[in-house]
Symmetry: C2
Subunit: 219 residues, 2 copies
């Protein structure tokens, strides 16, 4: 995260970065970075932090800047196959990814972003959202439900709907189903922000999901 | 509806009319007209018609070009207060609206649009969606579920999400709830396209809703 925007986001910069996302291939990190910046105004970040801190776990996470720290994927991959740690590591290894890392946060705004980045792939596993466009969209909708005033994730939902309007209208049902599933799951679930996930590496994934009331849709 | 676009919609004209909607006040009819035109390409209209005609009621409506015809609001307003006819008339009279009319359709494409225009305010009543922005959004989502390959209504959903990203992020929960409610209601309901609504003016609204499995959300 660079400098914060002023109280209100720049409408022009939000629309510009939104349109860049519409025209970009999925996973264009430069476009994502630009949208992150345009969506990071003080007003919405304050709203999110105030909302999240109502839950003791997130309050503690902000105070102590709880981080995942170094992750040894090879070691996690030796855990039993039903554990969170194994599933997380296996997913990253299979896709050739490394754990996402953020710069060390210096304030709450930076911690908010750093924690989201660092735990993003864990949220994929926990929510059962895979990394194709429908899984990403379901997870984006889940983030809106869990983070509340997030311009970034809601812009991604809107962007994906506009892309399907333009290019792929036959898929509208699948897209709307994904949004609805993510939204309902987020409302049923306990707040996930601020969880110290490395305490759960050895716990069966099913048990972790149950403890946070993550209810996977039937299909 | 003017001339049809070619097989694929013009990406540029769709984005241009989408952005015009983002910058317009709600209910800007010129902006809506422009989006209708940009979203009316042969490919998506054919997909919708093929989808709708799987149901005998819509097939018959397309064949016979079933229309609502002249509506006498004052007469409907004399019906018992629990009837569809009274509720429809009362809503229009209270808001100072007249029944929406479309040009006489000359082909299936024009009938598709004409029927949607003519029945729009009835769908508001049947679905219990009021005419504020949340009610409109819920109904837009309902249309996507009922019409399937509709670039127009899905673009409106995306437009409203982008507007809330820019101007009103505190309302993200209400917006996502509205989309989810409309979507779930559309999937539960029987197909509404092609219903000859004037046969139901004297039927209690609750009974009409039951007969088409319209289940109102709790809140």
């Amino acid at each position: 995260m660079q400098d914060l925007n002023q109280d209100q986001p720049g409408q022009d910069s939000l629309i510009k970065s939104f349109l860049r996302m519409v025209h970009s291939a999925d996973g264009d990190f430069e476009a994502i970075r630009e949208l992150t910046e345009a969506a990071s105004d003080e007003k919405s970040l304050d709203l999110m932090i105030e909302f999240l801190e109502r839950h003791p776990q997130a309050k503690k996470a902000f105070e102590q800047q709880i981080c995942l720290g170094e992750v040894n994927l090879q070691a996690l991959h030796l855990l039993p196959k039903n554990t969170l740690g194994y599933c997380y590591a296996d997913n990253l290894i299979t896709n050739g990814f490394s754990p996402l890392k953020a710069d060390e946060p210096k304030n709450k705004y930076q911690y908010l972003l750093a924690h989201i980045i660092e735990t993003h792939d864990i949220w994929h596993i926990i929510t059962g959202c895979n990394t194709n466009i429908l899984g990403e969209l379901q997870l984006e909708s889940f983030y809106v439900g869990q983070l509340y005033a997030t311009r970034f994730w809601l812009a991604l939902v809107a962007k994906n709907l506009l892309k399907v309007v333009i290019d792929d209208i036959e898929k509208s049902t699948q897209y709307m189903d994904a949004i609805t599933r993510g939204w309902i799951m987020a409302k049923q679930a306990e707040p996930l922000f601020g969880i110290q996930w490395n305490l759960f590496w050895e716990t069966p994934l099913d048990e972790v999901r149950r403890s946070f009331n993550i209810i996977l849709p039937d299909s």
